[in-house]
Structure formats: structure tokens, C-alpha cells
Amino acid sequence: MPGGDFHPFFFVVIAAWILVCGLGVVLFRNIIYSAVSMVFCFLGVAFAYALLNAELVAIVQILIYVGATSVVILFAIMLTEVQQSYGQLFHRQAIFAAPLAVAAAVVMTVMVVSTELADVGDTSLNLSVHALSSLLFNRYVFPFELVSLVLLAAMIGAIVLARRQGEKR
């Protein structure tokens, strides 16, 4: 598939999928449904990456999000034993938040779309996995190392937080 080639049909389908599932996350009353909807959304995003010719990202997306993150979230849902939101689903400010979100989308879209970017075109940057990893471990090795520190911090942080009080290791 020629990279970066824009397929209106696939785009529309995937976009619809992503947005509907995204809405599902936000709108479902049952938190489990929300979580499942999120997983589907992530899947859609993975397809979008594929459509954009970034297979590695798509795979990583599926591995990390669909595989790991979703599970963590589900665990959290189980741990907090709150499957359903009782009472109000939304804050009262939702009636302001919805227009705000719409307005944000509109304003940003108008502003972004109104800007004609000169250099946009089908550059079909077709990076192989090899090329990507080469970049990752040469040019981007510094952020890569930093990310590892972030993960370390997150892990330790999660342990610190989730540990019960007074609990000894």
C-alpha cells in the first residue's frame, strides 16, 4: 500500500469507529462498557496507524494499550469494586462542558484548517521497523533512556501509592 495515500473510504470508516467508540467511553453508564468501548477505540486507532502506514506503531498500540493498559484499567475497576456509577453520571457542568468541547473542536479546526501548510503532501515516509529501531537507538536514544526512567518512576510510584498503609515489604 502506498504510504500516506489517503483513502477516503477507509478513513471515514475508521474515523467513525474511533469516534463512536470514544463517545462510548465517555457516555456509557456502566464503567465496564466504557472500558470495553475504550479497548475498541484503541483498536480503531491501531487500524488508523496501519492506514497511515505506521505498522510498528499499530502493533505497539495493540500490545501496550489493548494488551496492557486496558487490563490495568480493568484491574483498577475491579479493585475499586465500583462497577457502576451511582447517582449522576455526569457533573452538572457537563451542560457547559459539552458546548465547550464542541467549541474547542470547532475553533481549533477552523484555525488549523484555515492554515494552508505549504509542505504538505504525500511524502510517503515508509519507515521500516528496522529503520525505526535504528532511529530509536541512535538519534532518539536520549528520550528512550528518559522514558525508561519514567517507567521506573511510574512503577515505584504505583507501588508506593497502592501499598497499604503501614505495609512492610
Binding site: V107, M108, V110, M111, V112, S114, T115, E116, L117, A118, D119, N138, R139, Y140, V141, F142, P143, L146, V147, L149, V150, L152, A153, A154, I156, G157, I159, V160, L161, R163, R164, Q165, K168, R169
Partner: protein, 573 residues
């Protein structure tokens, strides 16, 4: 130096800090009960990192006399030199980075000292605490040396994530937890916004490297003020504005400052803020320098709102931590003036057609960050110190009469409050003077006028602390009238009070400067509670901060020269 060697040299101070973090984590599992070594390790790591940075920074051969060194007139400390980039222009070790690294290490060491008594109570979590703190500092150093938005964002996250944890470090404490959740949700929200902004910036230029972004924006010509760039810059400003607590992205600050453990609050108020400002400064003045009109407009709005709202909301606060939180919001507003000065200032065209900035705004920001570090850490340090000594809910009423019970503490707090107000000859004054010169020089005098009016407003709540400490009496202490009261009665009462509290610990300061009426020690005796024990570290931190505020206030040249020299060679610009 060259090649990979060179790359490592470029990030060496950061590597030292990160490595120390790992050492702390590991040592945590190895030392068993001897947890007290952990802070020493952490501090040592920071000091080594600072030493490394200093060694790399200073051109030893050109130091000249000691006096030149101190007054900054020699070229050895700040003049000349080159900047080196590494990791394929991902990071750069320029004088800016040295300055920031040194600043962060100082802040880190002071925070470690401040937290001694606090962590003594939470021995088992010491490793995590100091390790995470070091990781945050690594992230901050990363912000300072990044010259690529990807590195910048990762460093940003490295700076943020452990802070969320630190804010919620007191498990079981609802306020601490609440602080963490507020900080986390808003923080993640705003970093997503920041990320989107960076993505749009990337969209506009197709580049992530600062220099390339600058070139790309330059190529855009008039489009450098297009809707895309505006949205991108606003979103970036949201992300950084959140971290520096600029209005209207400041909401978290008071709640989190109040709820988080006080040493962490102290760290957040100066460290995180400094880190974010440093990243902000470098990104805008290096990468987005081609579109100064846009971000100057954005920052001007932010600065005006921040100064007004911060000061207005600090006024009614009766909780000292909250008051300091709002004051720190207000100070963010002042510091923004420096950034605006850069954007609004005289941008001349260099020899090869590139834009050359007037750096006085940037150096003012760096100077102010340094000055602010001393005074605000000091102020929070006093709160920690009082909390170490007695039950203390950080309210204004509780510091009433402090001048009698803890005279030296009161004096130090007065110094910090006056410095925050900007009263000379304390360091806060020079910070403000520096900022005002920058902004006036940039032709935006009205902002300076607004800032001074707000400073006058701020004087009210800063001086309120002083008046509570000095002009009021602690509850239960008979007020001794100034003129009319019989001296004998007061003396007798004081001696009596002194006798009844035999055994109550007296602070180092109580041996103090002002003729005290013994007094409040009696009330204190029953309250001195859980955190008993000498907290030498906190005291030392406060002393260091006071000395910094006072000595650098009397002779600010070294810090000014450093801040100015830090901008002399700015890689990527």
C-alpha cells in the same frame, strides 16, 4: 571530546542524578534499618552532579582573582566558552543548562535537608521518596538540556509523574490523596494539551528540533502567525502554564500545595516551577522565537491575569501554605514578565540573518528563579521547621506571638516575607528590579506598573505574617503593653512562665536576638508532639536559605553574573 564520549559528557550531570536515584532505590533494599544513609546518598549525588556541572562550566584557567570570581567580572566563570550538543542535537549542554542544573541541584539538596524530620517518621518509604525526588530532578535537568520537543516532552513527563506520587505521599491522609488526584488529573489533562500543542507545532514545521523549528517557522514567513501556530502555541502555553501555575491554569496549585507534604510543596513551588520555566523559556526563546508576537500576546494575557488573581486570592487566605501557594502563582506572573520581555524586546538580526535576542529578559527569569528558590524554600522551610517542633496546622493564628517563642525563626520568616515582597536589600528586590528593567527595556512599562501595584498588594499579606508573629501575642500569653505596662509585672510573669516550662525544649533560636518575654513556651510545651527530635537538616536548610536571601541580597553580583552568563551562549538559538 568527541563521539559517544561527547554525548555522555553532555548529559553527565543528569546521568549522575539518575544513577544516584537508582543507587538510592537499590540501597533502600540493602541497608535494612540504616535508612538514614539514603538522604546522604541522595544529597551526595546531587552535590556530585552540581560539582560535575560546575567543573564543566567553569573555565578554570580564566578565573583570575577570587574577587573577580565573586563579583563576576572575570571571564572565567561565565564568559566565553562553547556549548556542546549531543545525541544528534537532542540535547545541548550550554551555559543555560549549567546554570539550571546547578540551581536544580541546590533546590534538591535543600529539599532533602528540609525533609529530614518528615521522613524520619516515614522511614520505610525513604528510598522511594528520595529516589523519586532525584528522578524529578533528572527530569528537570532534562528540560534544561533538551533542544528537541520529543526530549522535552519526555523530560516533562519524567518531571511530572513522580511529583504526582510525591504529592500523595502521605498515604491515608485524605488531603494528601486529594492533592495527588487533583494534581494528577489536571496535570495529565494539561500535558495532553501540551502534547497536542507540540504536535501542532510539529505539523506547522515538520520538525522537532528547536533549531529546525525556528528555521521552519522562519520559512513560514507570515504564516508564522497563522491559526495553526496560534493554536499550537496556546496549547503549549497551557501545558507549561499549568506547571508554573499561571492563571487560568493555576487551579490545582493552592489545593495541591496545601495537601501535599510541606517539603514536597516547597520543592514543587520552586523546583517544578523552575523546571517548567526553564523548559518554557528555552522552547519559546529558541524554537518559537520566530513568532514572538503570538506568544508575547499569549503570555501578556497570562501574566496580567496571574499577577492580579494570584495576589487577590492570596489576600483572604489564612492558611499559610495556601497563602504561599497563591503568592507563588503571583510570582509566576512576575517571572512571566521576563519571558514577555524577550518576546517584546528588541530582536535584532544577526550577521547571518538569524534573529538575535536581547537576553536581559531571559537572564532576569533565571535570576528570579534562583532568588525565588532561596526565599520560597526558606518560607516553606520555616513552616516545616515549626511543624517539626509542634502541632501546627499552618494557620496564621498559630504563628501569632512566634517572635517570643521562636525569635530566630520569626526573624528568618520575616526575612523571607520581606524578600518575597521585594524589600531591599534582600534578594527578592534584585529579582524584581531585574525583571522590571527587562520589561521596561522591552517597552512594556505598563506591565511593570501593574506588577509593582500588585507587589504593593502582596506586601499586605506578606507583612500580615510578620504582624502576626511580632505584633500579636500567642493565645494564653498576657499581652505586655508597650508603654504603660509595668515592667516589673511583665518581668515577674515572664520568669514565672519560664519556670513552669522547665524541660520544654527551646529552639536554637530561642537563645535569641530579641529580649523575649519567655511566654509562649508554656503554651508550646503541651503541643510539642510527635515530630520531636532535632531536625538539624530543616534548620540548616532554613539557615542556608536565609543566608542566601541576605548575602545575595547585599551582594547579588555573583548570581546576576551567572544568570547573565547563562544566556551568553545558548545552543540552538
Amino acid at each position: 571530546m568527541s563521539g559517544a564520549n561527547n554525548d555522555v559528557m553532555v548529559i553527565l550531570p543528569g546521568v549522575v542524578v539518575a544513577a544516584t536515584a537508582l543507587v538510592v532505590f537499590m540501597a533502600d533494599t540493602l541497608v535494612g534499618g540504616r535508612k538514614w544513609v539514603l538522604p546522604w546518598i541522595a544529597a551526595a549525588g546531587l552535590i556530585v552532579a552540581a560539582g560535575v556541572a560546575t567543573a564543566q562550566w567553569i573555565d578554570v584557567g580564566a578565573i583570575g582573582s577570587v574577587w573577580d570570581f565573586v563579583s563576576g567580572s572575570g571571564s572565567g566563570l561565565f564568559g566565553g566558552g562553547t556549548a556542546e550538543s549531543g545525541f544528534a542535537s537532542m540535547v545541548a549542554l550550554d551555559k543555560f543548562a549549567y546554570y539550571c542544573t546547578l540551581l536544580f541541584c541546590v533546590i534538591g539538596v535543600l529539599t532533602i535537608m528540609l525533609s529530614d524530620a518528615y521522613m524520619k517518621k516515614r522511614r520505610d518509604a525513604m528510598g522511594e521518596f528520595y529516589g523519586l525526588l532525584l528522578l524529578v530532578i533528572t527530569g528537570m535537568i532534562g528540560m534544561a538540556i533538551s533542544i528537541d520537543v520529543i526530549a522535552l516532552f519526555v523530560a516533562f513527563e519524567l518531571m511530572s509523574l513522580p511529583t504526582y506520587v510525591l504529592a500523595g505521599f502521605i498515604r491515608g491522609d485524605e488531603r494528601s490523596g486529594e492533592a495527588a488526584i487533583k494534581y494528577f488529573i489536571n496535570g495529565a489533562f494539561s500535558s495532553a494539551i501540551l502534547l497536542f500543542g507540540l504536535a501542532l507545532l510539529y505539523a506547522a514545521t515538520g520538525q522537532t528540533n528547536y533549531a529546525s523549528i525556528a528555521a521552519g517557522l522562519n520559512n513560514l514567513g507570515a504564516d508564522a502567525q497563522s491559526g495553526l501556530v496560534i493554536v499550537a502555541l496556546v496549547l503549549v502555553a497551557v501545558g507549561f502554564g499549568f506547571k508554573i501555575a499561571a492563571v487560568p491554569f493555576h487551579w490545582w496549585a493552592p489545593d495541591v500545595y496545601e495537601g501535599a507534604p510541606t517539603p514536597v510543596t516547597a520543592f514543587m513551588s520552586v523546583g517544578i516551577k523552575a523546571g517548567a520555566f526553564v523548559g518554557f523559556l528555552k522552547l519559546f526563546t529558541v524554537a518559537v522565537i520566530s513568532a514572538p508576537e503570538v506568544w508575547t500576546a499569549i503570555l501578556t494575557i497570562l501574566a496580567v491575569l496571574t499577577m492580579i488573581v494570584g495576589n487577590a486570592l492570596a489576600l483572604p487566605q489564612r492558611n499559610l501554605k495556601r497563602m504561599l501557594a497563591y503568592s507563588s502563582i503571583a510570582h509566576a506572573g512576575y517571572i512571566l514578565l521576563g519571558l514577555i520581555a524577550v518576546g517584546a524586546g528588541n530582536v535584532s538580526v544577526g550577521a547571518s540573518g538569524e534573529r538575535v535576542l536581547d537576553t536581559s529578559g531571559s537572564s532576569a527569569v533565571l535570576f528570579y528563579l534562583g532568588a525565588y528558590a532561596f526565599m520560597n524554600i526558606g518560607a516553606f522551610g520555616i513552616l516545616v521547621w515549626i511543624r517539626n517542633r509542634r502541632a501546627f496546622r499552618y494557620t496564621l493564628d498559630e504563628v501569632a506571638g512566634l517572635a517570643r517563642s521562636m525569635p530566630w525563626t520569626a526573624i528568618a520568616m520575616t526575612l523571607f516575607m520581606l524578600s518575597l515582597t521585594g524589600i531591599p536589600p534582600l534578594i527578592g528586590f534584585w529579582g524584581k528590579l531585574y525583571l522590571f528593567t527587562a520589561i521596561v527595556n522591552a517597552g512594556m512599562t505598563w506591565l511593570a506598573v501593574l506588577a509593582v501595584i500588585m507587589s504593593a498588594v502582596s506586601a499586605y499579606y506578606y507583612l500580615r505574617v510578620v504582624w502576626y508573629m511580632y505584633f500579636r501575642e500567642a493565645p494564653g500569653v498576657a499581652p505586655a503593653g508597650a508603654g504603660a505596662a509595668e515592667a516589673g509585672a511583665v518581668q515577674a510573669g515572664a520568669v514565672e512562665a519560664g519556670a513552669t516550662v522547665a524541660g520544654a525544649p527551646v529552639t536554637v533560636g530561642a537563645a535569641g536576638a530579641l529580649e523575649t518575654g519567655a511566654g509562649a513556651a508554656a503554651a508550646e510545651a503541651t503541643l510539642v508532639a510527635d515530630d520531636a527530635g532535632p531536625a538539624v537538616g530543616s534548620a540548616a536548610a532554613v539557615v542556608i536559605a536565609s543566608l542566601g536571601v541576605l548575602v545575595l541580597g547585599l551582594y547579588p553580583s555573583p548570581l546576576i553574573s551567572a544568570a547573565q552568563g547563562a544566556l551568553r551562549v545558548l545552543l540552538g538559538g
